[in-house]
């Protein structure tokens, strides 16, 4: 199974990953529209953490024994058979936040769409490389 690998030594904290993730998960898929016209604004599922010169982009690690899957009470949080990603089935999610509470990386967020759901990295579905990896200008993220 492929994973997103973080190379913190090359992350320059430009946050292009955040922007591209947001656009990728917006309705329009257009950068200006995603930021200016979509309400509520779509959420980025990757976040750059910074401390001094150290920075890295953190998204769901798609753990092998994912606590969020075990602790999901509806079964919405499940492992995608195809790419091994831990993904949230938005139709089943009721927003109980068991996943947020159990994620040791703090990468699950609340999102309010038609109803409240847990929002997290889905490895951009199955369309090849995730947007954050493709758009990282310094290859600080890799998908392998």
């Amino acid at each position: 199974m492929k994973k997103i690998h973080i190379h913190e030594e090359y992350c320059i904290g430009c946050r292009l990953c955040e922007i591209n993730c947001l656009v990728k998960h917006s309705k329009s898929g257009k950068i200006i529209k995603a930021f200016k016209e979509e309400f509520p604004r779509p959420l980025s599922r990757v976040h750059v953490e910074e401390k001094g010169y150290l920075s890295f982009a953190l998204q769901c690690r798609h753990c092998e024994d994912a606590q969020c899957i075990e602790n999901c009470m509806t079964g919405a949080m499940h492992r995608d058979e195809k790419n091994g990603a831990v993904v949230c089935d938005e139709t089943r999610c009721v927003g109980c936040w068991m996943c947020i509470m159990s994620c040791p990386f703090g990468v699950v967020q609340r999102e309010k769409k038609e109803k409240r759901i847990a929002s997290k990295c889905d490895l951009c579905g199955s369309d090849g490389e995730p947007a954050c990896v493709v758009n990282c200008p310094n290859e600080a993220l890799s998908y392998e």
Binding site: L58, Q67, E70, M73, G75, C96, M98, I100, S102, G106
Partner: protein, 424 residues
Amino acid sequence: MSNGETKYLLIGYSVASWWCAHSIREGDRSGRIVAVTEEEGPYSRPLITYVLGKKTGDVAYTGTIFQHDEVEIYPRKRVVEIEPRDRIARLSDGTDIRFQKALIATGGIPIFPTIPGRENQGIFTFTRRSDMESIDTFLHGHPARNIVILGGGFIGLKTCEAMMDMKKNITLVELAPRLLQNMLDEEGSYYLEKALAHSGVHVIKEDTIVLFETETDRLTDVVLKSGRRIPADLAVVSIGVRPNVDFLRNSGIEVHRGIVVDEHQETSCPGLYAAGDVTETRNLLTGERNVVAVWPEAVNQGRIAGWNMTGREVAYEGSLPVNAVEVGEKAMVSAGIVNPPADGYETIVRKDRENYQKLVLKDDLIMGAVFVGEISKSGIYINLMRQKLPVETFRDKLLDPNFGLINLPTNYRKHIVKGVGIEV
């Protein structure tokens, strides 16, 4: 229905049993697993409030864990007696099941105090699908306008949340000076009460129901201890649950508040295991033995029991009370010791108009956490608590808005969870 081939018997079939079966199947692909449940079949119990509130369509658990587990389910049956020495379980229909190993995961039963008038219509507890269905039917049959919920605990609040969108007058009655008394402190409760008030829920604290007033068997009012009278068409009593252990009375299995288990989730009778809300386990942080009735611990205990039943020795690290809830758009996460005794503990608080965050520290370890409002990072702190990582090096960064994995010691951050390739 006596059958000598049953290798594993699961008494009660909810989350602890599911994960137990899942763990068993990791070590034993073929041994026959039988699950006895009082219900129609497996479903996710916490979902009942969401279904009632039409937040989701049904209570089914759609996780993938059942797919390969091959469990034979005996529905609508109850185990009435266990003979631990002979490894026989007697069912409510009179049949016996002979087993090799068994898991007792019968969960909790709601506490219903003897309040006069409680036998009348319109008064419910709310822990099972059948409760949900009865309330739903009741609501359809009667145009109930006024709802009273007794108990501002977890179930009470979730019931509240479920009924909020029904345009009813809801009153929440809580005996303690705060809501969620085990999970919140007074200040955190204040944020929650504000959100509830905003959603039109009336909260009455430090009071309780002493009388259900009825008219032709129908609830009309409740009378509180303080003497207040509140009109009510429907009352939900949710002041807590206690372990469902009555059927073990003559079995010889040691029961304290819950079933006493060792770190392998084994009871005092070898071969008999217990997991979930029915067990009494050692607290991860304090070492005290108590019943921690939360979903994640039921999962953990079920898994541990399953592994040990198939011979893979795995020790349970201890239970950590954790819970999350969202009421009136106010999310909340709590874990560990949130109302510490005075000595030796230190608290860090960070708050603004919408958010309240509190950490309880002792000897450089995080012992408790409360998050109201912004909760995304709560998992990081809870994991620190589980891993018992000293916070010395990043103490000043705790609760910083930008706090994240990056503040943690490099070695820890790079190998934060079990499993391959999760390094940061």
